[in-house]
Each structure stands twice: as C-alpha cells, then as structure tokens.
C-alpha cells in the first residue's frame, strides 16, 4: 500500500464518519439551529466524498447548491421565525416513532440488500477527472435534456407560486385622514394581481 491510497483511505474514513455522525446529529439534536448547521457539515462531507471519487465538478456543485443555497435558505427560515414555542403533544407519538423506525430500517435493509447482491465490477470504470465537466454538460444537453428542462420548469413554477403567495396586497391607510401611509419605501404600490384581474 503506497502513501496515496492510504491517505485516500484515511480521508474516506474521516469523511464517512463526519457524514454519519453529522446526519445522526441533524436528526437527534434538540436545538433546531444546531441541526441546520450540522446539515451544512453533512453536505460538505458528501462534497468531500465526491472529491475523493475524482468528481471535482460535482463536489463544487454540491457545495454551491446544497451548502450555499439550500442550507442557507434553511438557516434563513429558522432564524427569521426564531420563536421558542412549546410543541403540542402529539397523540400516539410512540406508535408513530415505532412506525417510522420500521420504515427506515426497512429502507436500510433494502439498500444493504442492493449493496450486497449487486455484482460490482471492481475496479470500476476509470475516472475521467477534469473531463467530467464537459461530459456532464454534454449529457445535460443531449440525453437528459427533457428531465433537465422539466426540473427547471418545476422550479420556475415553485418560484412563481412562492411569489404569488408571499406577495401582500395590503395598502395601509391612515386612520385619521384615510390617505395611504405607504411611503413607497419597501412595498411599492401593489396592484392586486389575484382578485381584480380575474374579474376583469
């Protein structure tokens, strides 16, 4: 065993334990902010695993999308509604826990079975390294064009939906004078897009 492969193995062990422990922490920790930060750590660990697999573009994309966008958004949402509230007691929590535990172990066994029964040909196809960026681009614009576009349309729909939901058609009026107190600072004068235009 030479230096390179032993370093790789050590890195794999560290990254794997980071991912597993982090994921357990995300689920088990009481403090939701800690869970969110640990989730970021798990994403970083997965990016590290991609790097070990010689897929640097995927690793960078993982960091950009999952850590830089998804995780930041989760943190944002948590911190903007940073209320300490007592959660209501859920009826039959214990049976729910047991049920979800059963589903999860079932999934785990399924994955293990797939892992053990599949005939992995070792060593796998040789890594293409730097060329992977081009290869990903080619595939995205030829074989996987339809799923790619469908996913983007789905995201667009989600975005439009979010904007429509979040847009507040409230115009505050001064109680005494009846004038608009909206000073055009943050909320510009909103013309209602949901109600009026549908009746026109």
């Amino acid at each position: 065993m030479n230096i390179a492969s032993s370093t790789e193995q050590i890195c794999f062990l560290i990254l794997g334990s980071v991912v597993i422990l982090g994921a357990l922490g995300v689920v088990l920790l009481k403090n939701i902010v800690y869970s969110a930060f640990l989730l970021g750590g798990v994403f970083m660990g997965v990016a590290g695993l991609y790097l070990l697999l010689n897929a640097s573009f995927v690793a960078a994309a993982q960091v950009l999308v999952y850590v830089g966008a998804v995780n930041v958004l989760i943190l944002f949402a948590i911190m903007l509604v940073n209320k300490k509230e007592e959660l209501k007691q859920i009826k039959g929590l214990r049976t729910r826990k047991v049920l979800s535990g059963l589903v999860c172990t079932g999934l785990l066994f399924l994955l293990l079975r797939v892992d053990l029964t599949t005939n992995w040909n070792l060593p796998g196809p040789s890594a293409i390294g730097e060329l992977s960026t081009e290869r990903i681009g080619e595939h995205l614009f030829t074989d996987y064009l339809l799923p790619f576009e469908v996913a983007s349309v789905l995201l667009l729909m989600a975005m439009i939906g979010a904007i429509v939901l979040a847009r507040r058609d409230v115009l505050n009026t001064d109680i005494a004078t009846g004038d608009s107190v909206d000073q055009n600072l943050i909320e510009k004068s909103n013309d209602p897009i949901l109600l009026e235009q549908s009746s026109n």
């Binding site: 030479n2 930060f37 960091v63 944002f76 911190m79 730097e130 943050i186």
Partner: protein, 372 residues
C-alpha cells in the same frame, strides 16, 4: 504556448539530485506553495490595510498613520499585534461553540480560494479543472459562517447583520456567477490559466475588458457587494446595526473577520484582473519584446524575467483595483437594503443574463474574436 517556469519540477529535480525518492520530494514540496500563498495573502492584506488608511486619509486631506515605521507602513502590523494580545471575550449568554466557529468558517473558504489564483503560467497552487467555479462554490460557504456568528452572538444587531450579509451574499452571487460564465464561455475553460492565456495573444488589446465591458462592471459591483465594501456595507452599517455580526467580537476572533474581509477584497481584485485584465499579461506580449531584443523566449534568464514581470503585473493590476475600491468607498453613500436587493435582482440579474445571451450570440457570429 510556452510552459514558462516550472518550480515544482526543478524543486523535485533538485531534491532527487540529493538522492531523495520522488514521492518524498513531492510530499516535501506540498506545504511550500501553501505557506507561500498564505504568507502572500497576509502580506497583501497588510499592504491593503495600509493603503486603505493612507488613501482614505489623502481623500479626506489628512495624513494618516505616520509614526509606526516610515510613512506608517508598520501600522497594520501594530493593529494586528494589538488584536492578538487583546482579551478574548465571549458574551455570557452567547453560544460559545458557534461563536468561535463562525469567524473560522468565514476565513477558511476565502483562504482556500487562493488555490486558483495564478501569478504566472505555473505560478499557482493547483490548476484544478473547475478553476473559477471552485471560487464561486467556496464563496457560497461564507454566509453560513456569517449567519452562525450572527446567531451565536445572542444580540439582535448581530442577528440582523448576519441575515443581511447572507441575503446580500446569495443575491449577488447569481449575477457574479453569470458574468463569470460569459467569460468562461469565451475561453472554453473554467481554469484560470486558460482564461488568462486566451486574453494574452495581442497584449492589452485582447483583454476581456474590451469584449466584456458590461460583464466587467457587473462583476466589479458584485465583488464589492460580496466583500461588503461600501456602498454595500449594510451588514456592518454602524449607524444602524452597531457593527452587524461583528458587534460582540473582540480580540483574535474579530481579527479573523477583519482579515477575512480584506483577504476577500484582495482576492476579488485579483480575480477581476485575472478574468478581465489579462492576469499576469504584460500590456504588450512578452514574446514580441523578446523577439525585438533578439532573445529566445525559452532561455532561463528570459523565463525568470517574464515570470517576475508576470507577478509584478498581476500585483499592479490588483492594487489598482483595490485603490478603485477605496476611492469608491469615499465617493458613494451606503445604499438601503431595499435598494440593494432591487439593484441585485432587478438590474444586475437581467443585465447579466442579457450579457450572457449576447456573448453566446457573438461567439456564434464571430468565433475568431469571441472564442471558437
């Protein structure tokens, strides 16, 4: 294309001359560029801090630091030393772990991004294939550190500052990435080396700034916003938020934030010079000058000469941009948060999309001028 100096190869050859195996010489080589880049980043920060103080003073008709060293050049050192020996205060109700982790998470990605900054054909730590994309990905980690320190400080100003920083950072990353994409499209590569090489065929006439003027402006605005420099320094707007997410920090942890923001400024300036101003390229191609003087480009002396000229050119371009940033700091007033988000989403994003589209069209129409 000439290969230029290859320090790693000559270092390995030297060590192997002493009878050391190639593997061990490689391991011995590994920490050297890292140390070099770390120290050069730190020196760059010291110079930038000094420059900032001196230029700010000149713009306000003051003198600025004068007594620490000649013309006050040692002032940043004194500042750093002061921060180093200051008491490290963690507020009683703060979250100690996240409070400590925050500044570290802010600093590490910035330093890591120096991996891809080229000072010459072979003068960079690693010519990774994803090049400039690595920087974009790494800079997206920063808001997590900011949110972390904002949350852990247990202070509403800190939390607001952290949230503002994260919002600003993620909304300006998109136009930034799109303007980088336009450059990448022209050079057909994400690697910073290829981006620079593609610009240096006709001296300063072939720099990307002539082909991507809109992209240059967008990139510069976004880089200033990412560095939280004025006019986009809302996260630490002192009139409103005391010092934003840095409010509760003191001593070395504050120094980490300070260091991070200045390293980020130097890095952004470096990347602007790499992406748009021809990186290490001399305004006139070195090959022409060598031919004029009747020298062969491949002789070691000329190689060393061109290498050092490359480093000097990169540094000059970078510090000109840093100077511009400081001038902008004393010229422009701070924007409001709604103006900031307006500018990012309603102005820069559509324009950078149009710029990208336009570049693609030009690339198809004139493949010679805009990369085949």
């Amino acid at each position: 294309m000439n290969t230029g100096l290859d320090l790693e190869l000559s270092f390995n050859n030297l060590l192997q001359g002493f009878g050391i195996s190639s593997e061990i010489s490689h391991i011995l080589w590994l920490p050297l560029p890292m140390l070099l880049v770390l120290s050069s980043a730190l020196i760059g920060v010291l110079v930038t801090v000094w420059l900032e103080r001196k230029v700010s003073a000149a713009a306000q008709q003051r003198i600025g630091p004068e007594y620490a060293g000649a013309l006050g050049v040692l002032q940043p050192m004194a500042d750093g030393l002061k921060l180093l020996v200051k008491e490290d205060v963690i507020p009683a109700k703060a979250d100690g772990l996240l409070f400590t982790l925050g500044p570290i998470l802010v600093l590490i990605p910035v330093i890591l991004s120096w991996l891809i900054v080229p000072f010459g054909q072979n003068l960079l730590i690693s010519n990774v294939g994803i090049g400039i994309f690595l920087w974009i990905a790494l800079s997206s980690i920063q808001p997590i550190g900011l949110l972390m320190s904002g949350y852990a400080s247990n202070n509403k100003y800190s939390l607001l500052g952290g949230l503002r920083a994260a919002a600003q950072s993620i909304s300006y990353e998109i136009p930034l990435a799109l303007s980088v994409l336009a450059v990448v499209m022209m050079s057909n590569s994400l690697s910073t080396i290829d981006i620079v090489n593609q610009q240096n065929s006709f001296g300063f006439l072939s720099w990307n700034i002539w082909r991507q003027p809109v992209g240059f402006v967008i990139f510069w605005i976004c880089a200033l916003a990412e560095c939280e420099r004025l006019p986009f320094d809302l996260p630490e707007a002192e009139e409103e938020l005391v010092a934003g997410y840095q409010t509760e920090y003191a001593g070395m942890k504050f120094a980490l934030f300070y260091l991070g923001s200045y390293i980020n400024l130097v890095l952004s300036a470096l990347l602007v010079s790499v992406l748009y101003l021809g990186g290490w390229g001399f305004p006139f191609p070195v090959e022409w000058i060598a031919n004029l003087l009747g020298q062969n480009v491949d002789t070691p002396l000329v190689q060393v000469f061109t290498g050092s000229i490359g480093i000097v050119m990169t540094i000059i371009k970078t510090y000109l941009l840093v100077f511009l940033a400081i001038l902008l700091r004393w010229t422009t007033p701070r924007v409001r948060i709604d103006q900031l988000l307006d500018l990012g989403w309603k102005f820069l994003l559509p324009i950078s999309l149009v710029n990208l589209l336009f570049t693609a069209a030009l690339k198809l129409a004139f493949p010679i001028a805009f990369g085949g």
